[in-house]
Symmetry: C2
Subunit: 435 residues, 2 copies
């Protein structure tokens, strides 16, 4: 039995929804369908979720969400008309408008896109609608409650026919709607897949799966056929964004494969994400991803290696400022802390002053514009020469390596280059391994 | 004006001491001479300092240092006879024996080798002896007192003729003898050089200076002509041991060059250690050094990057156990701590248990037998392709890189390989840059 999740582009137009219907009906194992809210129909279009957030904001500001709601009403009416569906969406929209006006939360407002999407698709495919609020449970503190959720999802396992469930949200014990972070329908799909013990979690989107690197940098970047949960986690963390990173954890525990598929090219086998990839023939490098805009704080002090607790003290200062760190390259009389600019912005001066007071360094140097690149793959640990090939590719393009970090995982090398060299570096590494 | 320090081999035999005399007299600027205790005369011989520690131990155990003292007496008598010196060393040795028997400290005992060596050499060269206890000052807590020392050393600056000072020790305000750590005559020389504002600190030993790498691994390793204080510090920290690492700090402040010279090849210009090496043409890599026997603790936990303070908590545990760390390679869901085996031994189990309790990781992996190699040089930051060349050399010899760390200093790349690959790696890197 398969759980299929369809993303916003797949639910945006009647044409797309017809494709979704065909996909679901073409395989009798596709019994559970999780849907996103309708996304963009064309470049520059608004996503329904954004319109719903706008409605909540409009209501808070002027006492009524009327103008955003009228746009939402128009979008859904048009969709139902195009689908030739005998469904009066009016009362649903009226209720949402009323609730938002009466002060329901932003989470409630945002969740209604998935809710309506599931109502419509259940009717369209002749399946049964289940409200995510009835089976996806959050605790009063807003954290996800996996135990209650698993028990409730297990109860729907034996249902006949096709069951359609809205993604993205659930409910707390006091009946409030609570959403996952943006893109969280991926997480709902993974939770359902675990709860019903699916043989595979199909995540249908608008690309053929994961590419070896960012196709905006390397046009025609090759597609990954198979990767491991761990590789996916590392690539996602560094910027690859096909799948919500939290969607790995529910299925990983039970070893349920994730299959990324393309609604608009259903014949492409997509990318398969597995617990154990050792039985597949695969390239040594699985993927290359990265992120610009990081900053390095380098703290120098003579004999710091003889000073017990030096790094700990520096990290305490940064932690007290609520700032997360990425890497900690250490030298002999120097230690660096690498932090993303989004984390550091607004805290830099205070952190530098506090470090100065706390460890009395000889100098603190702040260098901006560092891009981090992760070269990821299970084959790396067993194959000498990977690092040589990576650095050789960068040297040939005259890229100066500012930082490197390997050793905590046999799965990646992390390299720091200047932001200006980022695209060149990604291209050079791609070319060396896949060109 | 120059300060010259002569090491143990230079003071071990009459033949060597004659060479030292010629060196000192050949340059009228060589006005201050710091001497070590007589070292080994041949492979397998005992150093005087070791005999003095043995005397102290013998006295503590059996109430008298007689047998060790008789060996010391024999060595010094022979030396004086070979030097044709009219000096009765008997009363000096008698006093040392008496003091050790009466419970003087191990530091006192150990310091007498330098003391006697200076007494003898002052007489031999017709210079003046100054007791290090009168000018090198320690505080009551045993720490070195640079302010008092500087004032006292400045007072001897204008002396006529040649002044001979024993290395290795000084005195506390309560008149106890206190030594630096072993090899500390290098430090005494640096302190004297700073105090008298020498133009150069000549450190005369039994090698021609620093070799690019360990000559026990690469026979005929080339000699470094010029290196910076910073490079020296990094190379020393990783194992290169021509000079006591603490001897850099006194002279660095005032930019006094250190010149490593060979008593037994006085025509070789040796290695010059400078504050600023930018005006010299030099190889891109200055040196390669390393250390075997390190351990990696790898702590894995899903989503640890989202957990503020994770690394700080791990470091706190290690610090509370009094253990120093070397490097902290970090991945996405993993962080490693690299610790020398000498630091970790006896603490491993407790540290692993405490980390488990403190951060609740998914796993902790302990991997032994990691060798750390530092490739050091100021040229590295400005030259793309250094990392490529290093890793290419290792790959060609089938060495798997287990860890790498660069970024906190523009002066080094640190690489981790298995202990079994250490010599191969050093040879391969040397060959790539100097072969």
């Amino acid at each position: 039995m398969k759980v299929c999740k369809f993303g916003g582009t797949s639910m945006a137009t009647a044409a797309a929804i017809n494709k979704v219907k065909n996909i679901v009906l073409s395989d009798p194992e596709r019994k559970f369908v999780v849907v996103s809210a309708p996304g963009k129909r064309f470049k520059g279009d608004a996503k329904i979720t954004d319109l719903l957030y706008a409605a909540h904001k409009e209501s808070a500001e002027v006492g009524s969400p009327a103008s955003a709601i009228s746009e939402i009403r128009r979008r859904f009416s048009e969709l139902i008309k195009d689908l030739n569906l005998a469904l009066d969406i009016g009362p649903y929209i009226d209720e949402i408008e009323r609730n938002i006006t009466n002060g329901h939360s932003a989470d409630y407002a945002a969740s209604r896109g998935e809710y309506l999407s599931a109502v419509i698709f259940a009717r369209f495919i002749g399946g049964e609608f289940i409200d995510a609020g009835d089976i996806i449970k959050f605790r009063l503190d807003g954290s996800f409650d996996p135990e209650s959720t698993n028990d409730l999802v297990a109860e729907i396992k034996e249902r006949e026919g096709i069951t359609v469930i809205p993604g993205f949200y659930g409910r707390t014990p006091d009946k409030s709607i609570k959403t996952f972070t943006r893109g969280g329908s991926d997480v709902t799909g993974a939770i359902i897949a675990r709860g019903v013990k699916a043989s595979v979690y199909e995540n249908w989107t608008d690309v053929n799966g994961f590419m070896v690197t960012d196709p905006q940098i390397v046009k025609d970047a090759k597609q990954m056929s198979v990767l491991s949960y761990e590789e996916l986690r590392e690539l996602s963390y560094m910027g690859a964004s096909v799948l919500h990173p939290d969607s790995i954890f529910p299925v990983r525990e039970n070893g349920i494969p994730i299959n990324i598929r393309n609604t608009f090219e259903p014949d492409n086998p997509g990318t398969l994400i597995l617990k154990d990839v050792s039985s597949y023939t695969r390239p040594i490098i699985t993927g290359v991803s990265g992120r610009k805009h990081n900053t390095t704080l380098t703290i120098k002090k003579s004999m710091l290696n003889a000073e017990l607790g030096f790094v700990r003290k520096v990290l305490s200062v940064i932690e007290r400022n609520g700032v997360s760190i990425e890497h900690i390259p250490t030298g002999i009389d120097a230690v660096s802390i690498i932090i993303t600019d989004t984390e550091l912005d607004g805290h830099e001066q205070k952190i530098v002053e506090e470090i100065r007071g706390k460890v009395n360094p000889d100098s603190i140097e702040v260098i901006r514009n560092l891009a981090l690149i992760a070269v990821v793959g299970h084959g790396m640990a067993r194959t000498p020469g990977i690092a040589a090939k990576v650095f050789d590719a960068l040297a040939k393009h005259n890229v100066n390596v500012r930082m490197m970090d390997q050793g905590s995982s046999e799965l990646n090398i992390i390299i720091g280059v200047e932001d200006a060299d980022y695209e060149t570096s990604i291209k050079a590494i791609y070319e060396a391994f896949f060109g």
